[in-house]
């Protein structure tokens, strides 16, 4: 392949035989699907969409893009792509830190695992080679101990991406954790690894920044992107912007103010004690450090330390888990939230899904649908249940199946705030209408990151829209889905999109790879990737009527200031969205697949 940025090396690992084969990337595929998420989904489609997610034939892909590990700002992301055991869709879940950059510096764009090992193994990657090594001594260990053991074994310049006991126990929302606290959280990638007896991927590499194809163009493009990210007027401005100073949890107070913060399993749209768990309060009370990722001046990670009963030192006090384990469970105890997030990280579980299944169980308990007593905000009970889920003990075994399956078993599916089997995140679509259409049409189940409409509805990027208006949100969602599909394929942090636009991305992509591309070209690639995912899902059985929202968002009006009286007008937005997409009630027609050169 003659494109810059790529290592042009993929490892295919047969876990059954232990064999490792190396291959190049098809340049046509690289131009069409870029890398990371896009190329990962292409490998998934080629592997066949009918596989059992927890069977040996499922593919588990660790994917970089052509910008990963370069000097491009915020380029420290990796996508883990597989078929989800939670949703049955194709899924991709990204993490930051340094593992992605190190994988590139070790000479790889991707690692593809298939089959099932007869015994626990981990993959050790260094100098363009991958070896499978015995992980019997690590099986049964939490993420933190696994990371510590493997770092001690492999020394400096090493990243460990590991699963905990939840992955081993096939908790359907088990995740991979990188460097202790950076989660590829959603979709159950950790359970897929558990089913394959793959405990970890360990990468050792010294810094070796790939050279851009066009150095002068790269210098100009890089400076331009850096300038907009650093601008003091933007949310990304280092040590000045809200995202940099308070982290993602800077959102808690604004979503609460406008009546878009779900509480008590979304039975309410505001949380009276939101201020106690918001970014401002965290900074005042338990914040100790602001870590960052490869090539990122924003440093949105927030490291906290607590003492006493919920003593912990961790670095992922984010908005999403602060909401799911906080407001969503009626819990205003920030120390307990930090402790619970860390516990999720150690077991290797998606904290959004766990918080939602806990909130749903609290509602079930309140309605006396289950015999167990689980009170709102009972933090000790939440800790106990987290252990039970991670170990699949007692009621935890049912909760380990995810919110939707557990709600069905508890007897009321309407308690499940899920789409395609995955729980909704921290934005109530009665107060932020764009999130409603974004959740419903997300290709990986409910997700705020496929189309981050709050960028428009709260911040005003790319343009300000009214959070309570449904008109235009179908088109906005398509635009953002396409944009994020391509940034996830570079793989760049999505937060770059708060300052950069398609033209900034195009200039950097072109300079690194040598592929001449405009912003419109990138949006076209993003559209192709989004349709490729939808095509996979259609073939996997997601047909007409698969894009929906929980009844609660459609029929129970908000009672909070800012959104009082509002429900989410999904049908109207879906009509606009499908028209913009050229889909037939959620299904990609053959003509669209041909137009986008997918078939």
């Amino acid at each position: 392949m003659n494109l810059g940025g790529y290592a042009d090396r993929i490892a295919r690992v047969d876990l059954r035989s232990g064999g490792v084969a190396y291959e190049h990337i098809d340049e046509v595929d690289a131009r069409k699907y870029v890398g990371a998420r896009g190329l990962g989904v292409k490998y998934m489609l080629d592997n066949g969409p009918a596989v059992d997610p927890l069977g040996p034939d499922n593919l588990l892909c660790f994917m970089n893009g052509p910008l990963t590990g370069t000097d491009v700002t915020m380029s420290g992301r990796m996508a883990i792509v597989t078929k989800s055991p939670l949703t049955g869709t194709v899924t991709d879940s990204h993490h930051g830190g340094w593992s992605a950059a190190r994988l590139r510096w070790a000479g790889f764009d991707g690692l593809l695992f298939k089959g099932r090992s007869a015994k626990p193994v981990y993959a050790f990657v260094e100098d363009g080679k991958l070896e499978l090594r015995d992980a019997s001594d690590l099986w049964g260990k939490g993420v933190h101990e696994t990371v510590k053991t493997l770092l001690a074994r492999h020394g400096a310049d090493t990243s460990v991406i590991a699963i905990g006991q939840a992955g081993e126990k096939l908790v359907r929302y088990a995740s991979f954790l990188n460097e202790n606290d950076r989660a590829s959280g959603r979709g159950g990638t950790g359970a897929v690894a558990g089913s394959k007896q793959l405990k970890a991927v360990v990468v050792t590499a010294k810094k070796a920044i790939p050279k851009a194809k066009n150095k002068d163009a790269f210098k100009a493009a890089h400076q331009r992107a850096l300038a907009v990210l650093m601008d003091e007027a933007t949310v990304t401005s280092p040590r000045k912007g809200g995202l940099s100073v308070y982290g993602t949890n800077v959102l808690m107070n604004i979503t609460n103010t406008i009546g878009a913060l779900g509480a008590k399993n979304s039975q309410q749209t505001t949380f009276a004690a939101a201020e106690e768990i918001a970014g401002e309060k965290i900074k005042e009370t338990i914040l100790v450090h602001d870590p960052t990722c490869h090539a990122c001046p924003v440093a949105c990670k927030k490291e906290v330390e607590t003492h006493g009963k919920y003593a912990v030192h961790m670095e992922s006090f984010e908005y999403e888990p602060a909401w799911s384990l906080g407001a969503n469970c009626g819990n205003a105890n920030r120390e307990s939230i930090a402790f619970l997030i860390d516990l999720c990280n150690d077991y290797g579980m998606d904290a959004i899904e766990l918080g939602q299944v806990l909130g749903m169980a609290m509602e079930a308990s309140e309605k006396e649908l289950i015999k167990e007593r689980i009170e709102w905000g009972d933090t000790d009970r939440m800790v106990q249940l987290t252990h039970m889920v991670g170990r699949r003990e007692g009621i935890g075994d049912t909760m380990a199946e995810g919110t939707q399956r557990a709600a069905e078993k508890f007897g009321d599916i309407n308690m499940a705030m899920t789409v395609k089997g995955q729980s909704t995140p921290a934005y109530d679509p009665r107060g932020l209408k764009g999130m409603g259409i974004a959740y419903a049409t997300s290709n990986r189940g409910a997700c705020h990151l496929r189309a981050y409409t709050p960028a428009s509805e709260l911040l005003g990027v790319p343009e300000k829209t009214d959070p309570l208006a449904w008109e235009g949100k179908g088109k906005l969602t398509k635009l953002l889905q396409d944009l994020h599909a391509v940034s996830d394929s570079f793989d760049l942090c999505k937060f770059s999109a708060f300052a950069e636009g398609p033209e900034e991305y195009a200039a950097q992509y072109s300079a690194v790879t040598g592929v001449a591309a405009t912003g419109d070209d990138l949006l076209r690639i993003g559209e192709r990737i989004y349709n490729l995912e939808r095509y996979y899902n259609n073939l996997a059985g997601f047909r007409e009527g698969s894009d929906y929202l929980p009844k609660r968002f459609l029929e129970e009006p908000s009672t909070a200031k800012g959104s009082e009286g509002h429900v989410c007008e999904l049908d109207l937005m879906l009509r606009e969205y499908y028209e913009a997409r050229g889909w037939e009630n959620g299904v990609v027609p053959e003509s669209k697949l041909k137009e986008l050169e997918i078939i």
């Binding site: 949310v235 800077v250 309570l468």
Partner: protein, 93 residues
């Protein structure tokens, strides 16, 4: 009296105060309230209103949870007891 709640970096600029009381006459607008706030907290000058007196891009002003862009802007008349909140640019994920 009216009270303005400040968030994130605006709160830090105002000395860490979550809420600032601004004395207002009946019939006052949100624009009047912001000018009164700036008189009490000069460190906020330029961070809520620009030189032309418009709300700075990406800054959000809410009355009772509603962005004033979708009310009558800075001319929106306040009612007794209205909750006012001002945010600097915020976003995350």
């Amino acid at each position: 009296m009216a009270a303005i709640r400040l968030y994130a970096t605006l709160r830090a600029r105002a000395g860490g105060e979550r809420e600032v009381d601004v004395g207002l006459q009946p019939g006052a607008s949100i624009g009047d309230a912001i000018l009164a706030l700036l008189a009490r907290k000069p460190a906020l000058e330029g961070h809520i209103l620009d030189d032309a007196g418009r709300v700075v891009p990406y800054v959000s002003v809410f009355i009772e949870g509603r962005d004033i862009r979708y009310l009558d802007g800075l001319a929106t008349v306040l009612s007794d007891g209205d909750e006012i909140a001002i945010f600097p640019p915020v976003a995350g994920g």
